[in-house]
């Protein structure tokens, strides 16, 4: 009896988990530090950790960093790195949750219309004389993108569940495709009539971290935190849903309610992130898949690991974004796509993508 107990207990792989989490945490911290140290201008890289250590109590180090340089690191680079971590983390956990709740590995956080809704909202703001609106008390651009994203998902949900009592995830996905096409068409129409803002809209759509400020971080932090907490609380339920809607229902899960809550939470977080950084692609798909390759498909582990490795990933991807084509920026969406495309090919080659 004791032997079988030991076998079954360790069978869940539960004793490996604390190590994996600790390691991931270390990776994130390391990546953030590296992100702070590297940039197209500013102080020599080794001064920065020295200055950070100096801020610790009982530690006194002279890093030789100038006021202006430290200001650059703290006011310009730091919010960018922190924002990258928050965005990467949110998009990854959102993508992993969507993949879990729809049991579809090709799903990304923009699935149900978030991208198209946010894009349309942003386009409309851009057509309304951006120079004047950017100095309003509340910047309408992130607000419009946020509201646009939420409205799009709302429409998708209403359309997807309107046709009888539908518990199927596939119908929602299809509704999302329809709503996305519709909104994209409207956006194209608006752009055609306001062709002078095409460039600005396009650059917003490509996604950017270059204009990150501490204000942006403060803006999205509550949404990201609430959203992430709700999603993490539903990890186990997502695991139960891996056996399909019918069996999950028979096992006692209110499938409709869980799906609604998860979609709502993931959308809220994604919409807030998209509102300040535009549409950064690939993160929401690549990271959960990569995490599954490392730790297996159990959502209990995949969700928190995706949060951490997603943060590290985007912080890492942002470094070439600001350094590669210096003094110009390479849009971060381009960097993630460059990494994403070969990754997908690798995925096709090495593993059965079905679950």
């Amino acid at each position: 009896m004791p032997t079988s107990v030991i076998t079954t207990r360790s069978a869940g792989g539960r004793d490996k988990q604390p190590l994996s989490f600790a390691l991931s945490g270390a990776v994130v911290a390391f990546m953030i530090l590296v992100g702070l140290m590297i940039g197209p201008a500013g102080p020599q890289w080794w001064r920065i950790p020295a200055e950070l250590l100096d801020h610790l109590p009982f530690v006194s180090l002279d890093s030789g960093i100038s006021r202006a340089d430290w200001n650059l690191v703290w006011q310009i680079r730091a919010p960018r790195v922190v924002l990258a971590a928050l965005v990467g983390s949110m998009l990854s956990v959102s993508g992993a949750s969507y993949q879990g709740v729809f049991r579809n590995p090709l799903v990304d956080p923009y699935l149900l219309g978030v991208a198209a809704g946010a894009g349309l909202g942003a386009t409309i703001v851009f057509t309304l004389q951006r120079e004047t609106t950017s100095s309003w008390i509340i910047d309408p651009l992130p607000l419009a993108a946020f509201i646009g994203a939420l409205c799009a998902v709302l429409v998708t949900y209403v359309v997807g569940t309107a046709f009888g009592s539908v518990r199927s995830g596939t119908t929602l996905v299809l509704a999302g495709v329809a709503v996305t096409s519709m909104l994209t068409a409207i956006q194209a129409f608006v752009l055609q009539r306001n062709s002078d803002v095409v460039r600005q809209v396009y650059s917003w759509i490509l996604g950017r971290l270059s204009s990150a400020t501490w204000g942006d971080v403060r803006l999205i932090l509550p949404y990201v935190v609430v959203s992430s907490v709700v999603l993490l609380l539903h990890r186990r339920l997502l695991d139960v849903m891996r056996v399909g809607d019918d069996e999950a229902l028979a096992l006692g899960i209110n499938v409709r309610r869980v799906r609604l809550i998860v979609v709502l939470a993931a959308t809220l977080g994604t919409a807030s992130v998209v509102a300040v950084t535009g549409l950064i692609g690939f993160v929401g798909i690549i990271v959960p898949h990569a995490v599954r390759l490392i730790v297996g498909a159990s959502n209990r582990v995949v969700l928190p690991m995706s949060m951490m490795l997603g943060a590290a990933f985007l912080v890492a991807a942002d470094i070439p974004s600001r350094v590669l084509a210096s003094p110009a920026e390479t849009p971060i969406g381009v960097v993630t796509a460059f990494i994403g495309a070969p990754f997908f090919l690798l995925l096709l080659r090495t593993r059965d993508v079905s679950r």
Partner: protein
Amino acid sequence: MNKLTKAGIAGFLFALTATIAGCGSSADTTDTTIAVEATELTATYPVTVGDLTLDAQPMRIISLSPTSTEMLYAIGAGAQVVAVDEYSNYPAEAVALGTMLSGFEPNIEAISGFTPDLVIASYDPGSLAGQLGSLNIPFFIASAPTNLDSVYEQIEQLGLLVGHVTEADQLVASMQTEIDAAVAAVVAPATPLSYYYELDDTYYSVTSNSFIGQLFNLFGLRNIADNVEAGNDYPQLSAEAIVSSNPDIIVLADTKCCAQTAETVAARDGWGGLAAVVAGNIALLDDDIASRWGPRIVELVVAIGEAITKASAK
């Protein structure tokens, strides 16, 4: 006054402004010391333009707008410019700086790496204002103008900011004179000529409400794109609409981007029979000059005038 006297005075004024303009441009190419001397005469700091106050003359200016670059060099502030954006391809001194900043996706760290004391852009693509503000770098937005007077105002604002007030005033005056002269030199026919302005080879055009359209208004020309789409000053016209309105003059502003010439236009299906094509009244503009609102709009106006003269002569 009779016509001869008028012509004489115009000619004298023209010669005078040409001389002064000539003096101004030679000042651009002199070295720093002489430029500094010249500016010491006209600079009084601190200066305030709008919300921006500069306490001292900026000696490390970054221009993220090709038009601002042209204006800065034209008013003698070229020596104070340390970096420009990738599209600032005029004058040659700006290109010689070798900097390739982006005005659309500004890399704030790279910008601060130049330790500028003034950054000028034509719009704020992101939170540039906020980010520069947190680094205490003065930021001035020289936005696209709606009319000719805004252009002159912008030149004078720049002149005040960079300490070249006199040169700015002189530039404005010479531009006004040259433009007036170019307009006056054209004998307009009784019925206003119509024109089609082409922005790119998919037939995006401008109405007479746009900035460039207003330059054409100086000559009393009729724009075939007016009233095509209410509220849209940059409508996309259909080939049929253009051909059926049979404009007297075709103005191509896509000679660089889309390699359009009189021959390519004539080769388009159905365009061969247009009055403008047959008579050869196709004006070719340099894309850059046509899309900026700096000192070189004078060349633009002159080119338009020549096209009209040619078209009127038939």
